[in-house]
């Protein structure tokens, strides 16, 4: 009974639009030219046969994998550092958490002012050191690197926060037992801490993969997918199709495919990690 209002609203604003998008994906619907005709699965076929689609998919996977790996590694190290630190933890934790709550558009601009050619802080510092700076946003491989760093800047704090909260829940008696056995900090981390918070790790990884797959705001502001198509991810491509080229049908098809891909990726990650877990215990 308590579920009815929410279910009604979710049905109207979430399930219905989603269904409508699937429906639209079966049409050649061009808002600019005013074309609207049923073409079945042709949009999907067209996308699968197109190098721009495969290129954007490849870049998305590359960006997601690099960013999430970087965030997790750094996040775990810093969280463990905070865990072992005995003073000033609260203040540090709060300060380093700041980037995560900043509006993504604002965050992207902040980073833009660091990385932009000539006037950016980073270029300025490099010039000061007598090094000729690369064009961080204008050169394809650097632009991709910058976009990954931008994702990491904003979401590593999230990893730190959640993993740190997790580390504090690990059973104290296990830790003491490990100490008695003479375990050093690294052994402790890998043998006790990580296995102890495995479900949480699984959870943050899943969340981060879902979120970075649809990472849009920062790329839009930092590079708008450029230079050329160097940072055009699937989401950026969908945006361009729908709102620049006004090919609504094809864009919907791409959106539906993204949804299936993300669902697949998440199921994959969870299944692999669970399987490994079963072997380990």
């Amino acid at each position: 009974m308590f579920l009815i209002p929410s279910a009604t609203v979710l049905g109207a604003v979430l399930i219905f639009p989603l269904g409508y998008a699937v429906y639209l994906s079966l049409f050649n619907y061009d808002l600019g030219a005013g074309i609207y005709q049923f073409i079945g699965l042709d949009n999907y076929a067209a996308l699968l046969g197109e190098s721009r689609f495969w290129g954007s998919l490849q870049r998305t996977v590359m960006i997601v994998v690099s960013a999430v790996t970087l965030e997790f590694t750094l996040g775990l190290l810093v969280a463990y550092g905070l865990y072992r630190l005995t003073f000033g933890v609260r203040t540090l934790n709060l300060l380093m958490f700041m980037p995560n709550v900043i509006t993504p558009v604002v965050a992207a601009l902040f980073l833009r002012w660091i990385f932009i050619g000539r006037w950016g802080l980073l270029s300025g510092i490099l010039i000061g050191l007598g090094i000729f700076p690369p064009d961080f946003l204008g050169e394809p491989s650097w632009a991709r690197f910058t976009v990954i760093l931008a994702d990491a800047w904003q979401f590593t704090p999230f990893m730190i926060l959640v993993l740190y909260a997790g580390l504090n829940t690990v059973d104290q008696s296990q830790i003491e037992a490990a100490h008695v056995d003479g375990a050093g900090p690294w052994t402790l981390l890998f043998r006790i801490m990580i296995p102890g918070i495995r479900p949480l790790i699984l959870f943050v990884l899943a969340i981060r993969i879902m979120d970075s797959f649809r990472f849009f705001d920062q790329i839009y502001v930092l590079t708008a997918g450029g230079p050329g198509s160097a940072t055009e991810t699937i989401t950026m491509y969908t945006y361009a199709l729908a709102f620049r080229l006004l090919q609504i049908g094809k864009a919907s098809a791409l959106g539906v495919m993204t949804l299936l891909l993300v669902a697949g990726a998440i199921t994959g990650v969870i299944a692999t990690l669970y399987r490994r877990e079963r072997g380990a215990f």
Partner: protein, 274 residues
């Protein structure tokens, strides 16, 4: 283990260094917003300069960014009011329903969180255009509720789960109806959680960009949309857009101070008990 200063001090310094690097872009932007263009464009970058409030004034008053602030406020507050009230009821229902059925529903809600916002933006855009709702508040508010709702339900549910079930059962034995138990027992007990949830969904709505970009027009533009348009234009507007960006960030810093204790729980979807 006794913490020895020999390991604690390097660890502390390393973490300070990490924090410093992390905060550099923020500090740099704040400094830029107080600089005149001469100082902002100096190579190598200047650290010492005479600060000016001129650009903060210009962007918020003369360039009328305050209008976008009003748009943002209207949209976010409406979203939160609707989303949290219906979400709280659903969360209560799910928390009391500790069965396999509720797990199914929860999983469905979680999977709603994962789908790409762009896939929601397209049908919303087409429908809103068809109904003439582009550049109005309701279209954006509805879209924001859609992405807000799963989050609200999950977080509120975690607060309801903290309440011992006996409390409700006692009320039921005393002859309270289902609705009364919710209003008299459930709600008052989770009131702090309600505030936390409301503030987090406010943050979510305030920060949202993609749907706002697609569904707003000149009259309803929210702050992130206005800023993205402005800041991406020309580097000559640098100090102005820095002033706008810093202004947009201020409420968030206040939010963070207020929510310190609840950050982990709120952002991790209630999965971590804070």
């Amino acid at each position: 283990m006794r913490p020895s200063p020999r390991t604690q001090i390097p660890l502390f310094l390393a973490l300070c260094a990490f924090t410093a690097v992390t905060l550099t872009p923020v500090v740099w932007a704040i400094m830029t917003s107080f600089k005149r263009p001469v100082d902002a464009f100096a190579v190598p970058p200047t650290i010492i300069f005479t600060p000016t409030f001129e650009f903060h004034y210009q962007v918020w008053v003369e360039k009328a960014f305050w209008r976008f602030l009003i748009n943002s406020a209207v949209v976010s507050i409406c979203t939160v009011l609707i989303s949290v009230s219906i979400g709280t009821m659903a969360a209560y229902g799910l928390a009391r329903l500790r069965s396999t059925a509720s797990r199914g529903v929860l999983f469905a809600i979680l999977s709603m969180r994962m789908f790409p916002h762009i896939l929601l933006a397209i049908p919303f855009f087409v429908l809103a255009k068809w109904l003439g709702l582009i550049n109005t508040y309701p279209a954006l508010i509805l879209a924001l509720i859609a992405i807000n709702q799963p989050f609200t339900i999950w977080l509120m549910r975690s607060f309801f789960l903290d309440v011992p079930g006996e409390l409700y059962e006692a009320a039921e034995i005393d002859g309270c109806g289902a609705w009364q138990v919710f209003a008299r027992i459930g709600l008052p007990v989770v009131r702090p959680g309600l505030w936390v949830t409301a503030l987090f969904s406010l943050l979510l709505a305030y920060n949202e960009f993609l749907l706002s970009l697609v569904l707003t027009g000149p009259d309803t533009k929210t702050l992130p949309v206005a800023l993205a348009e402005y800041g991406a234009e020309d580097i000559n507007y640098w100090t102005l857009s820095a002033a706008a960006a810093v202004g947009i960030m201020l409420p968030i810093v206040a939010f963070m101070m207020l929510m310190q204790r609840h950050l982990a729980r709120g952002l991790a979807f209630g999965a971590v008990k804070g």
